[in-house]
Structure formats: structure tokens, C-alpha cells
């Protein structure tokens, strides 16, 4: 089964092709094909995981040359190591849940089959990205993920906001992808290969100068910045909420945004070569995490809160990975848990964030609004959704013993030795706990703030609550594979470099639990007990609130400094194009026409004139000389005799010939004059028949 792991991405691809080409018209069948394909992939992924555990995480590489050239060989192949196995499992689980959930959520959608085919294509792209064994393949799948995210975010393209969000996601991530491909090209230039293991071996040998390595690291990280929605390219992700909610769950939990974190984890061997690159990664992660968490504090759209929560948690992972890179770069034998913490959090986060989004989808499905100010008290009507949402919130807040606790705790541990990072990490943990429970309390407890919507609310069907319960189970227990007391837990399975054993750090556990509990406590006081008025606090910190509510005005800043000038520039270009270039072209055309006119005139009057003129001259000559042809035999005879006499005269006296000619002319003129005076043809007409 392990050797056949390349089939895992192909199942959903197969489903995509079948749905698009054959079963598009049979909606039920299409969705079942899609779901069964991903379930088969899920089962296969379990076997792969089992095989991977059985061989103690020893990686497997299968590859076929795709394009061979003396200077570079492009291959298609798979690289299965513990990280890949974990990702395969996470992606297939979340994707399965999302697809089953979509059966209920997308009920009655006119583009049902297309929706499932896109989901399959999306899953295929992500699975392909995970199993790729070289940078060439990962880039292809990377772009496929971008394409499918565009298709899915803009799935309800009738809505302007949705189609714009799709474009925004596509274009914003494309900026990062530019950096990514530059990084890849630099790698090829310095190592001459794209295969992960060969590249990493070359880098370890020192084939790439330090400065270049730093540049490569930062460029590749650019790709991750775009895909994983890191500052300053995080703006697309909150807008991506315009897509169907299950799609948001898929994008946010397992597929698209995880790709960036996965890329950084996969390229860790590059980052451990450069402290600077790693510190850039860590810093960007921290900034992103802090910005997003602070924005999430004040948002009122249930999906936006979750979106910023995602950005914040991704920042966490990126930061942990960056710190690991920095630690190892400065001391190859450093004891750092960052890599393990980042990847572990990637996994646990996938489950509870998928759960949160699907829960939010369930709520939206029930009340038909995204605004949490219009909800409240919903747990009475939606027991399963409410309970699972609370479980996920506890998990993301990092409460013992939910899975989020174990991974978040490791991230805090990873910041040991970086006091600033640690301070902000704890602050973010506090904010996370606060905003998540603000969300919970506002949505599910208290009195309904909009009675009308509350009355219409109802629990979602089993196809939606089933995945919720399954994910809730994972949100509690998935983290247990990484219990710090396990000697063969997650940390000794997914690791980079040499295997290190990390014992439990009780102080950090205590601190992070305290932080989380105090965050929840504050939210409880403000939004459940209402001891502190949220509005009063809001009034007091009005400027700060405005700043946060408007997301630090980053969209507006981009609009002002990038989009507006670009538009102005393009308008200028358009003007130039329309007036100068087109003017030139049109002027050339006009000139050609005029020139052709002139030539036509010349042709018509000069050339044709010459031709016709020759004809006219001939005709004129003929008109003149035709009178010679009188038809009268006697006249001809006269001419002959006159000519003969002329010849004789000329022979005898050449001088006399001219007198003869003059005489002839005189006679002819005299005859003509006489003929004119005579009534014409009188004789012919008056003569009697005879």
C-alpha cells in the first residue's frame, strides 16, 4: 500500500474527471462519486500511515523522469515520509468531512455537481502537493491549489463580492508565487536539481553561498506568505469567506493555507542554513499572528472572526518553524521543538478549525446571517452544533486536555530563548481564548437578540452534524498522539534533522493554561455575565477599536498605494494607447488610404488615359481615314492611276512631282467643296427605279 501511495491524489482526480465528463447531470451520483473517492483515499492514507509507523518513519521515494535534459531533469515522483503521511491523513479526513457536510449545506444548489467536482480537484491538488518529491511538482500543484481556490471562493459568482474575493485570492497569492518561482529558479541555478533530497544534500554540502541561501529561503517563504495568508499578503483570506462555508473550512483547515506551512516545513533544510531567512520567517509569523488576533477581537461576522483566527494560528505555525530554523542555524545541536510544534499544530488546528467553520456553517444555515450580533441563545435550538463548537473553542484556546492544548503548548515551548516572541505568543494565546469565547457566548448563550431569526433556527441534518461530531472527537483526542510523556509520540515521528526527545515542560503548561483560562474568564465576564459593558470599553478605546474594526486599514492602504496608482497608471497607458498608438495606427491607415486614392487617380486618369488615349487616337484616325474606303471601284482605280502617274512623274522629273502633288490636292479640295455645295445624295433618292 505504501508503494501505491501515488494513487491517493489520483482518486479525487478520477472523481473530478468522471463528474465533469460523465455524471454531471446526475447530481446525487456525482456527489457520491466524489465522496467515495475521498473516502477511499482516506482509507489508503490510513494504510500509508500504518506502513510508515511500521517502518519507523523511514522515507520512501518513487520517481520517474518526466523531462530529461543534460542540464536538468524534471521528474514526477512521490516522497513519503512521516510529515507526508500525517498531511495525507489530515487532508483526506478534513476533505471527507467537508464533502459529507456539503451534502446538507449545499442542498438545492443549482451547481451541485460542479461544486463536488471542484472539491475533488481541490483535494487532488493538495494531496499532489503533499506527496510531491521535487520543487517542480510542488509548484505545479501549488498553482492548481490556487486555481481551485479561485473556483471555489468565487463559486457563487453571481454575487459580485464572491467573484471579487475569488479574484483577490488568486491575484494576491500569485504575488507570493512569483517569489516562490524565483526561489525555485535560484535553487536550480545553484544546485542544478529540483529533487528535494538532492537539493538538501547540495545545500548541506555548502553548494549555495550563504547570502544566496538566505535569498532563496526568503523567496520560497514568499510563496508560503501568499498561500498561508501571512502579513502582508493576508488580505485575501478574510475575503475568501464569500465562498460556501464548507469551502472555507477546507481552505482554512487542511488544504490551501496548510500548503504554505507545509512548504516551509518541507524546505526546513534550506532554512536551517540561514539564521536571517529563518528570523524573517519567524518575525513575519509573529506579526501576522498578532495583527490577526487583534483584529479578530472586534469583528462581528462569525466567519471573519474565524478567518482571522486562522491567519493568527497560521502565524503561530510559521513562527514556530522559523524559530526552529533560527535555533538550528545558529547551533546545529540546539534543542528546539519548533519544527515539531509547527507541524503538530498544523494537524490539530486542521481538525478544530474545520470543526469551527463547519459549526459556523451550521449556524449560518440555521439563521441565514453571518452577524453574531443578531444571534444569541442558539445552543437551546442547536445542541450538537453548540457543544461541538464549544469543544473546538476549548481546543483552539488551549485548554487541557483538548488537542489544541498540546500543540499550542509546544509552540510556547518553542519560543524559549526568545523573550519577545514568548511574550507576544502568550498575549496572542490570551487574545485567542478571548475572541473565541466572545464568539461562543454571543452566538450560543444569552438571550436571542433577533427573535425572528431565532424562531426560524433549527438543528442541521445528520449529514452536517455527523462530520461535526467526528471532528469534535478528533479535536479532543487528535492531540494525544503528541502527549509529551509518550516516548514514541508525534515528536519522534515527525522531526527534522536528528531525533530529539522532548520531555514535558510543566511550567509552560501551567503558564499557557493560565493565560487561556484568563482569556476565557474575561470573555465570560464581559459577554456572559455582562459585568463589564463591552460598549463602554469600546467607547473608551474608540480610536483603537476603529483601527482594529477596520483591520488596520490594510486593505485601504493597499488600495491607496498600490491599486489606485496602478489603476491611474493603466488609465494613463490606456490613454496613451488609445490616443498615441491608435492615433499613429489610424494615421498610417488614413495616409495609406489617401496614398491609394492618389494612386487610383493616377491610374484612372494617367495610365488609363494613356491607354484610352491611344484608342481614341486610333478611332480619330479611323474616323478621318475611313472616307478613303468609299466602296467605289472607280475611285480606287482613280487612286491607282493617279499613283502610277505620280511614280512616273517622279521618275522623270522629281521636281515636277511636287507640282503634281499640289495639283492633286487642289483638285481634291475643289471636289470636296463642290460636293458640299451639292445637295447630298439627291441623285440617289430622286432617280427612278430602273
Amino acid at each position: 500500500m505504501l508503494e501505491k501511495a501515488y494513487l491517493i491524489p489520483l482518486y479525487p482526480l478520477f472523481a473530478f474527471v468522471v463528474i465533469i465528463f460523465f455524471t454531471r447531470w446526475k447530481e446525487k451520483l456525482s456527489s457520491y462519486i466524489s465522496i467515495s473517492a475521498i473516502l477511499v483515499g482516506f482509507i489508503h492514507a490510513i494504510f500509508v500511515m500504518a506502513a510508515m509507523i511500521a517502518r519507523h518513519g523511514e522515507p520512501l521515494e518513487l520517481s520517474l523522469p518526466f523531462i530529461q535534459h543534460p542540464s536538468l531533469t524534471l521528474e514526477t515522483g512521490i516522497w513519503i515520509d512521516p510529515l507526508t503521511a500525517v498531511m495525507l491523513l489530515v487532508v483526506t479526513i478534513v476533505s471527507s468531512c467537508v464533502q459529507i457536510y456539503s451534502l446538507g449545506y449545499m442542498h438545492g444548489d443549482p451547481r451541485w455537481s460542479r461544486y463536488f467536482s471542484y472539491l475533488s480537484l481541490f483535494t487532488f491538488s493538495m494531496l499532489g502537493l503533499v506527496v510531491a518529491n521535487n520543487f517542480f511538482m510542488i509548484f505545479i500543484f501549488w498553482e492548481l491549489v490556487g486555481l481551485t481556490s479561485y473556483l471555489l471562493i468565487g463559486f457563487w459568482f453571481e454575487k459580485d463580492s464572491a467573484s471579487n474575493a475569488g479574484k483577490k485570492a488568486f491575484i494576491t497569492t500569485r504575488i507570493g508565487d512569483l517569489g516562490f518561482i524565483i526561489g525555485i529558479l535560484l535553487l536550480v541555478a545553484y544546485t542544478g536539481t529540483l529533487n528535494y533530497q538532492e537539493v538538501f544534500a547540495k545545500v548541506a554540502e555548502g553548494a549555495v553561498p550563504l547570502g544566496i541561501l538566505t535569498a532563496i529561503g526568503i523567496f520560497i517563504f514568499c510563496g508560503a506568505v501568499g498561500k498561508s495568508a501571512q502579513f502582508p499578503l493576508h488580505v485575501w483570506l478574510p475575503d475568501a469567506m464569500e465562498g460556501p462555508t464548507p469551502v472555507s473550512a477546507l481552505i482554512h483547515a487542511a488544504t490551501m493555507v496548510a500548503a504554505g506551512v507545509y512548504l516551509v516545513a518541507r524546505s526546513m533544510s534550506l532554512f536551517v542554513g540561514s539564521v536571517e531567512a529563518s528570523m524573517v520567517v519567524a518575525t513575519i509569523g509573529l506579526i501576522t499572528s498578532f495583527l490577526a488576533a487583534s483584529i479578530a477581537l472586534v469583528q462581528n461576522d462569525i466567519k471573519r472572526v474565524l478567518a482571522y483566527s486562522t491567519v493568527s494560528q497560521l502565524g503561530y505555525m510559521i513562527m514556530a518553524l522559523g524559530l526552529y530554523g533560527a535555533d538550528v542555524a545558529s547551533d546545529p545541536h540546539a534543542h528546539s521543538v519548533g519544527y515539531y510544534a509547527g507541524t503538530f499544530h498544523l494537524m490539530t488546528h486542521a481538525f478544530f478549525k474545520a470543526l469551527l467553520f463547519l459549526g459556523a456553517g451550521s449556524v449560518i444555515h440555521a439563521v441565514h446571517t453571518n452577524d453574531i450580533q443578531e444571534m444569541g441563545g442558539l445552543s437551546k435550538k442547536m445542541k450538537i452544533t453548540g457543544i461541538t463548537f464549544f469543544i473546538a473553542s476549548l481546543s483552539i484556546a488551549g485548554i487541557f486536555p483538548f488537542s489544541g492544548f498540546w500543540s499550542k503548548d509546544e509552540i510556547v515551548v518553542a519560543t524559549l530563548g526568545h523573550p519577545i516572541f514568548m511574550f507576544f505568543t502568550l498575549l496572542i494565546a490570551f487574545m485567542t481564548a478571548f475572541y473565541m469565547f466572545r464568539l461562543c457566548f454571543l452566538t450560543f448563550t444569552g438571550q436571542p437578540r433577533n427573535q425572528d431569526r431565532f424562531n426560524h433556527a433549527h438543528e442541521s441534518p445528520l449529514s452536517m452534524t455527523g462530520p461535526l461530531m467526528f471532528l469534535a472527537f478528533l479535536s479532543i483526542f487528535a492531540g494525544w498522539v503528541g502527549l509529551p510523556w509518550l516516548s514514541h509520540g508525534f515528536s519522534s515521528f515527525v522531526y527534522h534533522g536528528e531525533l530529539q526527545h522532548h520531555g514535558p515542560n510543566y511550567i509552560m503548561m501551567l503558564v499557557s493554561t493560565l493565560v487561556a483560562v484568563s482569556g476565557i474568564g474575561l470573555a465570560y465576564t464581559v459577554y456572559y455575565k455582562k459585568r463589564i459593558s463591552a460598549d463602554a470599553v469600546m467607547e473608551k478605546f474608540k480610536p483603537l477599536y476603529t483601527l482594529l474594526y477596520n483591520k488596520y486599514f490594510i486593505d485601504e492602504i493597499y488600495d491607496r498605494i498600490i491599486i489606485k496608482p496602478t489603476l491611474a497608471l493603466t488609465r494613463g497607458m490606456w490613454w496613451y494607447d488609445a490616443n498615441v498608438i491608435d492615433g499613429l495606427v489610424n494615421f498610417t491607415g488614413w495616409l495609406t488610404v489617401k496614398w491609394a486614392d492618389a494612386k487610383m487617380w493616377f491610374d484612372k486618369y494617367i495610365v488609363d488615359g494613356a491607354v484610352n488615349g491611344a484608342g481614341y487616337i486610333c478611332m480619330a484616325g479611323a474616323w478621318l481615314f475611313k472616307y478613303i474606303q468609299s466602296g467605289s471601284v472607280q475611285f480606287y482605280t482613280l487612286v491607282i492611276i493617279t499613283g502610277a502617274v505620280g511614280v512616273i512623274i517622279y521618275r522623270v522629273t522629281p521636281g515636277g512631282f511636287y507640282y503634281y502633288l499640289i495639283g492633286l490636292v487642289v483638285v481634291a479640295v475643289a471636289r470636296l467643296l463642290a460636293g458640299m455645295n451639292r445637295p447630298h445624295k439627291v441623285s440617289v433618292e430622286t432617280e427612278p427605279e430602273g
Binding site: 468609299s630 466602296g631 482605280t637 440617289v684
Partner: protein, 99 residues
């Protein structure tokens, strides 16, 4: 000899005048005969006064008479056809070759 030649010249001139001025086709043919005979007189005259020992001129004259007879036949046949087609033999009216 001069008298003979003058006679021939006068005859020829009368013939030419006749050919040019007669309207009647028969008259033209007759005038042509005059011209033939003027030439015959010339031939005979030159034979008699320049080289009487040979008979070249005499023989030529006989040839001309024979040819003239043949020519008169053809000419009369044409005139006959003209008459049939134009109901007349006025040469002035027969101008189908006119432009």
C-alpha cells in the same frame, strides 16, 4: 513610229477616261478593251521598229488578246451577277464595300 505610239497613247487615255467616268459596267468593260488594244498596238509597234527579226511583240499581243477574252468573260459574268442582285448595273450604286 511616233504616229503609232500617239495613237496607242490616245487610245489608252480614252480607255482610262472611260473606266473612270462610265457609270455603266458594260461601258467600263468596253473601255478596258480599248486600253488592252492600246497596249497591243504598242507591243506590235515596238516589235516592228526595234526588233523585227523576232516575233516577241506579235506573240505577246496575241497572248493579251487571249487573256482579254478570258477577262471579258469573267467581267461579263460579274456584271450579270450584279444585275441579278442590284437590278441594275450602275457602278455608282454598288458600294457595299463602303465604310
Amino acid at each position: 513610229m511616233l504616229q503609232y505610239l500617239a495613237l496607242a497613247g490616245i487610245l489608252f487615255a480614252i480607255g482610262v477616261f472611260g473606266v473612270l467616268t462610265r457609270r455603266n459596267a458594260i461601258g467600263i468593260l468596253m473601255s478596258l478593251e480599248l486600253m488592252f488594244n492600246a497596249v497591243n498596238i504598242n507591243l506590235v509597234t515596238f516589235n516592228k521598229f526595234i526588233g523585227p527579226e523576232s516575233l516577241t511583240g506579235q506573240i505577246f499581243a496575241i497572248f493579251v488578246i487571249v487573256i482579254a477574252a478570258a477577262e471579258a468573260v469573267v467581267g461579263l459574268a460579274i456584271v450579270l451577277l450584279l444585275y441579278r442582285n442590284w437590278q441594275g448595273i450602275d457602278i455608282g450604286k454598288i458600294n457595299i464595300m463602303k465604310w
